[in-house]
């Protein structure tokens, strides 16, 4: 049987999820393409990391979002177990600070019920402060959504891609799509900087660039513009909320969230700043944006720590599509071209549901009958984290490899063994350029109180050794971000 060749453009949470779901089928040959050196480095890298409840999206205005968010939430409960993705199901409170806010909460509650969200209710002041004692005393009540959770977004993408690759998906990293070949109204393949990738089906999951990719196929009815959100993360030990705290939403945004992210750090953000379509790489933090987040967060969480307790600020971009709803469909004019575009919030939540939606589109709209593999492995084992192990378990591992007993990142207790395993997993999914970020996203090294000033030089040594490159050629985040310019005498020699 000839296999149907599928090229997925974009190895973010959406593309990765699609790759995993399509890896279940015997008659598909799945290629996952991304221009970055590693997976999940676009939109998926920087966001609020929330598995939303599904009450927020109006099914009349945004039917795709409304349908896929709640379905995605339910699927994540299964995926985090199968793939051992770090997660917490802590619930969310959408807080009313003014009497008028209750009207909006009622709307959300009704909408949630319509979308099929279970377990929601409006709680009064008494119950609210039992759920969240540190909340502002100005709070009057809240909508309580217990099914909300949080995950590590990049660890999730990595886990999904590892599982997809284990099930036969081929990755093409550092591969930038330059064109799409269409013949007689059917897609033929993808032109890239690394050659031509033949394809019968092309799935456009290119995040911020989905409009540009679509145009390469002659589809130009939508545009994506970036919406920037900025965040603060504070040092460990700073008290944060147990639940995800939202303000009552506005028409453009769910508002500035206060949460304790899964590593236990207080995190606040994002604001929402619309950027012109050409600023798709603008992830710079700004004074104004961070100030806005600070002020917004303070309304819900008055006990913000001193500014010196910040360990990191960052900005992420959400891809805002024309019309506001997810664009998930097989394009009629170009047979085999499926857009999965405009996956803005709640994209992370919806990703697994989007993947099943795409499988359905392939069957229903392209008429390809999908044949399930007899043996498909749904499981993936989480990378070893020294900090999560008992001392007995460490000692078992040390017998196999002494590197598991040696700490490289002091703040987060990351062992050399953890890092070696990260490198092994990087190579497994095809990461060609060694980068500190690839290690960071797998192990948490460099993300603690000191932000890597002790461990980065040691990680550089390990990466240089394992990848067989000079230490100064090791990068922070791919080519063009090398950590040095040569050996220490390079300038003195006049090179």
């Amino acid at each position: 049987m000839d296999k149907v060749k599928v090229a997925i453009i974009g190895a973010g949470i959406t593309g990765a999820s699609i790759a995993r779901v399509l890896s279940k089928y015997e008659n598909l040959e799945v290629h996952l393409i991304d221009k970055n050196p590693d997976v999940g480095w676009g939109v998926s890298k920087a966001n609020t990391a929330i598995i939303h409840g599904g009450y927020d999206d109006d099914p009349d205005k945004y039917p795709m979002r409304a349908k896929l968010c709640i379905r995605g939430n339910r699927l994540w409960h299964q995926w985090v177990k199968e793939l051992e993705i770090p997660h917490v199901w802590n619930g969310a409170l959408i807080v009313a600070l003014k009497d008028e806010d209750f009207k909006e909460l009622e709307v959300l509650l009704e909408r949630g019920i319509r979308n099929g969200v279970p377990e929601m209710r409006i709680v009064d002041k008494d119950e609210l402060f039992k759920l969240e004692p540190g909340l502002t005393r100005e709070a009057l009540g809240a909508l309580w959504v217990p099914i909300v959770g949080q995950i590590g977004p990049i660890p999730a993408v990595i886990a999904i891609v590892e599982n997809a690759v284990a099930n036969g998906v081929k990755t093409h990293l550092e591969t930038e799509v330059r064109g799409i070949k269409v013949e007689n109204g059917e897609v033929r393949g993808v032109e890239t900087n690394n050659g031509f990738v033949e394809a019968d089906i092309i799935i456009n999951a290119a995040g911020l660039y989905a409009d540009e990719i679509a145009r390469m196929a002659g589809v130009d009815y939508f545009e994506i513009h970036p919406r920037k959100g900025e965040y603060w993360i504070f040092d460990e030990g700073i008290p944060g909320p147990k639940r995800v705290l939202f303000p009552t939403p506005t028409p453009i945004s769910k508002g500035i969230v206060v949460t304790t992210e899964i590593s236990g750090h207080l995190m606040i953000g994002p604001n929402a700043q619309d950027l012109p379509p050409e600023e798709k790489e603008n992830t710079a933090t700004t004074r104004e944006g961070l100030e806005e987040v600070w002020k917004g967060a303070k309304k819900l969480w008055p006990q913000l720590p001193p500014r010196s307790k910040v360990i990191r600020t960052f900005a992420g971009l959400r891809p805002e599509p024309t019309g506001g709803d997810f664009i998930i469909k097989a394009e009629g004019e170009v047979w085999g071209f499926i857009n999965v575009a405009g996956i803005r919030s709640p994209g992370l939540t919806s990703a697994p549901a989007i993947a099943y939606e795409v499988a359905e589109i392939i069957q229903r709209d392209l008429g390809i009958e999908l044949v399930e593999k007899k043996k498909w492995n749904p499981y993936r084992r989480e990378i070893t984290h020294f900090f999560a192990l008992s001392y007995e378990k460490v000692n078992e591992l040390v017998k196999r490899n002494p590197a598991y007993g040696k700490i490289v990142c002091r703040c987060n207790k990351v062992s050399e063994g953890d890092i070696l395993e990260a490198v092994e997993r990087m190579k497994f999914i095809g990461v060609k350029t060694p980068s500190i970020d690839s290690v960071k996203f797998r192990t948490k090294a460099t993300t603690g109180t000191c932000q890597g000033s002790f461990c980065r030089p040691r990680i550089i040594q390990i990466l240089a050794r394992e990848y067989g490159v000079s230490p100064w050629e090791v990068t922070l985040k791919g080519k063009g971000s090398e950590i040095g310019i040569g050996d220490v005498k390079v300038l003195v020699r006049g090179e």
Partner: protein
């Protein structure tokens, strides 16, 4: 059971170990690096040991001299302490991991000499792109002097403290162009001898300025600087950009005290290190602290001296089953004293007082109010630690506290 477990094999830890050994104590020295010496090994410039060894040495030479005295001491490197368990006032457990696995040892006392960490770009409010080429000064120094990596060629340094100035020289000597040193305060932060470096290498120093933003794609490309007024508020309209591929942050050190705070050791917010008595004992009996984990020192000689003091404290502790209770006299901060240690004095022995002023002043008197002690000094600077000996007899004149202050000489 050990008499002492020393955590940290830099100068304070090695000096503490050597002294403890001399005092006949059974010692274990732990360090999480692959080698002893701590930060000294990357400090390849001279200027070390003038007080302690009475000659001028480089960092590695200073470290080597101490290492040579460690014969017969049990030392474990690549050994990271995970946990200190305060089992009783006379017995503690230290849990550490190394390539041999996780081990737990018991000890009567602990001397904690884990040094400090550097403040990083996010802590000082720098915004913009997250790109390669942003290093703390110590990290850049490690890259260059331990691993032989040249980080970049056009350098901007934040902070005119000693570490920043020494790195300015280091970069210049390796052929890089140091385009500016940016200092927030209206005066330079380093020792006088290090400020000379700027003249030697023609490096512009911008006082009352701060770096606010970094932009670039893969690497640092340009750095935004702004002038500040006397209240450190930014003056709008004074912004300018410097093109550079590397930003080095030398914005101060913070004692590494996480393991101590986990067992309830009380921290002095002004030093960032523990509150200690004149034996350098913390608020948890039998746990002593020395070096930059106690307070940020400017000379390694003082660091080593504190290590020895802590070892003597451990000896007294072991001999007496605890430091005997006494009438502790508090040493408190008065005018123009930003930080000081130790915080409690017994009056039974002479004590070195370590302190820093908040702002520079000329022609001053350092006064210990309640005991009437006065010392005239031509100049005091925040960068230069005051180290003053108080005699037992002087201390015991105080009722319950001694206030240290720095005032204009009249």
């Amino acid at each position: 059971m050990y008499d002492v477990v020393v955590i940290g094999g830099g100068p304070a830890g090695m000096a503490a170990t050597i002294r403890a050994k001399e005092l006949g104590l059974k010692v274990l020295l732990l360090d999480d690096n692959d080698y002893l010496g701590g930060i000294l090994l990357q400090c390849i410039h001279p200027g070390f040991g003038i007080h302690y060894f009475k000659e001028e040495l480089t960092g590695p030479e200073f470290a080597y001299r101490l290492m040579n005295k460690l014969d017969g001491v049990e030392v474990k490197t690549s050994a990271r302490v995970l946990e200190i368990i305060n089992y009783s006032d006379l017995e503690k457990f230290v849990v550490f991991t190394s390539p041999e696995g996780v081990q737990k040892v018991s000890t009567k006392t602990i001397i904690y000499t884990a040094g400090a960490r550097e403040r990083h770009a996010f802590e000082i409010g720098i915004v913009g792109d997250r790109v390669a080429g942003i290093y703390t000064a110590g990290e850049a120094q490690t890259l260059m002097d331990i691993y032989g990596i040249m980080p970049g060629k056009e350098i901007v340094i934040v902070g005119s403290g000693d570490v920043g100035l020494i790195m300015a020289r280091r970069f210049s000597l390796e052929g890089a162009k140091v385009k500016a040193v940016i200092e927030l305060m209206p005066y330079p932060g380093g020792l006088a001898r290090n400020i000379m470096i700027l003249k030697d290498f023609n490096i512009p120093l911008y006082l009352s300025h701060k770096v606010v933003e970094v932009r670039g794609r893969g690497r640092v490309e340009k750095i935004k600087v702004v002038k500040v007024d006397e209240n450190l508020r930014e003056i709008s309209g004074t912004e300018f950009w410097i093109e550079a591929d590397t930003l080095v942050i030398s914005a101060g050190l913070i004692p590494n005290v996480k393991l101590l705070t986990e067992i309830g050791v009380v921290i002095d917010p002004s030093t960032g290190g523990p509150i200690v008595n004149d034996r350098l004992e913390t608020s948890v009996p039998g746990i002593f602290v020395a070096g930059n984990a106690l307070l940020i020192n400017d000379l390694v000689d003082y660091v080593a001296e504190q290590g020895e003091l802590a070892a003597e404290g451990a000896k007294e502790f072991i001999e007496n089953g605890g430091i005997p209770s006494k009438r502790w006299i508090r040493l408190v901060k008065g005018e123009n004293i930003r930080l000081l240690a130790p915080h409690y004095l017994s009056g039974e022995r002479d004590v070195w007082i370590y302190a820093r002023v908040a702002r520079p002043m000329e022609d001053v008197v350092v006064e210990f109010v309640e005991i009437g002690k006065k010392i005239k000094l031509p100049v005091v600077k925040p960068a230069e630690m005051l180290r003053i000996k108080l005699r037992a007899k002087e201390i015991s004149k105080a009722e319950d506290k001694i206030t240290m202050k720095v005032v204009k000489h009249e």
